[in-house]
């Protein structure tokens, strides 16, 4: 009986233990499966996303630094633009179509009158002849500065012309660069000579258009 009972008892427990082990195996399989099958890949995905985010934040910081640099460049450009406007105050506004600088033209005519400069003898009979007139030529400097050519042709005393020249070259309102001068003495031994001069008037730039 005891043997039967023992055997029976052992047999009963066996099935139970098998059931418990099976439950244990099955029961643990679900969380373990979830852990390794879903949770761990998701953690890896999260870590990758966070690393990506960190990398992007570093890139973003670099980009913000770049943006600050661009702002600095623009601010430097504005500062230089202001300085250009200041330094170009004595530069003239051109009439590009007529290849003239009307302000300077008028100012030189007034100056010529002030210094008693006369027209060349051969031009005295011409209609609307002027001592100062545009030569129809503009030249460009390597970095965009432009200059318009004016011609000055006059019949005057040497000292009058000298004073006119000095006044012209030291004008505060305009920058006028003489290119060439031909003085021809009076062939009759008189004191009034012929002066033919080419000058270039430096033009004011369109500062907003520089480098754009």
């Amino acid at each position: 009986m005891a043997a039967d009972s023992g055997t029976g008892s052992s047999g009963d427990w066996t099935a139970g233990i098998v059931a418990i082990v099976a439950a244990l195996l099955l029961g643990s399989a679900i969380p373990v499966g979830l852990y390794f099958g879903l949770y761990r890949p998701k953690v890896a995905e999260r870590i990758a996303a966070q690393e990506n985010k960190t990398k992007l934040e570093v890139e973003m910081n670099a980009m913000i630094a770049r943006q600050e640099f661009v702002v600095k460049l623009e601010s430097e450009a504005d500062s230089v633009a202001e300085r250009i406007e200041e330094i170009e105050k004595p530069f003239a506004l051109p009439d590009v179509e007529k290849m003239d600088v009307p302000e300077v033209h008028e100012a030189l005519l007034r100056l010529a009158k002030l210094h008693n400069l006369g027209l060349l003898p051969e031009r005295q009979q011409q209609l609307r002849a002027e001592i100062v007139f545009p030569a129809g030529q503009r030249i460009e400097f390597p970095h965009g500065l432009m200059a318009t050519k004016l011609k000055i042709e006059t019949h005057a005393y040497f000292h009058d012309f000298g004073r006119f020249l000095t006044a012209m070259e030291t004008m505060e309102k305009f920058v006028i660069i003489p290119e060439s001068l031909i003085c021809t003495g009076d062939s009759n031994g008189g004191s009034r000579h012929m002066f033919r001069m080419n000058v270039y008037v430096i033009e004011r730039r369109d500062v907003d258009a520089i480098g754009r």
Binding site: S5, S9, D12, W13, G16, A19, A23, G27, S28, I30, P31, L34, Y35, Y39, K42, E45, R46, A49, N52, K53, L56, M60, M63, R66, Q67, V70, L73, E74, V80, A81, R83, I84, I139, E140, F141, P142, G144, L145, A147, F158, H159, F161, G162, L165, T166, E169, V175, I177, P178, E179, S180, L181, I182, C183, T184, G185, Y200, I210, G211, R212
Partner: protein
């Protein structure tokens, strides 16, 4: 006894089944709990990942926008800044280095040796008169040759008569010494070269001891003369 044993066995069996049942249920319950914990962890990670991805997408979008904007803005800002600096430097140089003619005319009028007067038929000041000048050679190719020439050197050429009143100046060498004493020219346009034509000299009164006029031609070397010239 048999029945009792049977009863006892049944009770044991029930107890055993109960234990097994409770064990199985506990195991399943615990595994369920664990599964719920893992599931909640998974859910939390899912939310975190989703948020991180949204954040990554947002940052990536902003980054792309900013990069696209800066890729355009930065070269433009750099180009403008550099162009403005170049323009400013050009303005400064043009104002600072521009040549003046009034000092040379002033010298022509004021400076001459005490022993002679200079009478001029013609005076020419011109840009780039040297035949071998590099600028002239490049004129066809260099679009800025004219402006470079304008800001460059000038040459002076003059001709006329030297009026000699001192009787002891006779030879060409002596005349050239007179011409060489024109200090103003030496400072402004460099050492000028004088050619005197002694054979063509004129004596208006017929007496060379009193006064005579010797034709001369003067050429000054290509030299920059500016406002700071004395």
């Amino acid at each position: 006894m048999f029945e009792l044993n049977l009863i006892k066995d049944k009770a044991k069996s029930r107890q055993r089944r109960r234990i097994i049942f409770l064990s199985v249920v506990s195991i399943l319950f615990l595994s369920g709990l664990l599964a719920i914990v893992v599931g909640s962890l998974f859910w939390r990670e899912t939310i975190t990942v989703k948020n991180a991805q949204v954040e990554v997408a947002r940052i990536q979008g902003s980054l792309n926008d900013l990069k696209t904007k800066l890729d355009v803005q930065e070269p433009a800002a750099r180009k403008r800044r550099n162009a403005l600096i170049e323009a400013f430097q050009e303005d400064v140089l043009v104002r600072q280095d521009r040549p003046y003619f009034n000092p040379i005319l002033e010298d022509i009028a004021q400076h001459h040796p005490s022993s002679a007067n200079f009478w001029y038929n013609s005076i020419q000041i011109s840009a780039d008169t040297q035949p071998n000048s590099g600028l002239r050679g490049q004129a066809g190719e260099d679009p800025y040759a004219a402006s470079k020439s304008l800001m460059g050197t000038r040459g002076l050429e003059a001709n006329g008569y030297i009026q000699i009143e001192a009787s002891d100046i006779v030879t060409e060498s002596e005349l050239l010494q007179v011409a060489g004493r024109m200090d103003g020219f030496l400072k402004l346009v460099g050492k000028p070269t004088f050619n005197v034509d002694v054979a063509a000299e004129i004596t208006p009164g017929g007496n060379p001891e009193e006064s005579r006029y010797v034709p001369f031609t003067m050429r000054a070397a290509q030299t920059v003369f500016r406002s700071e010239a004395p």
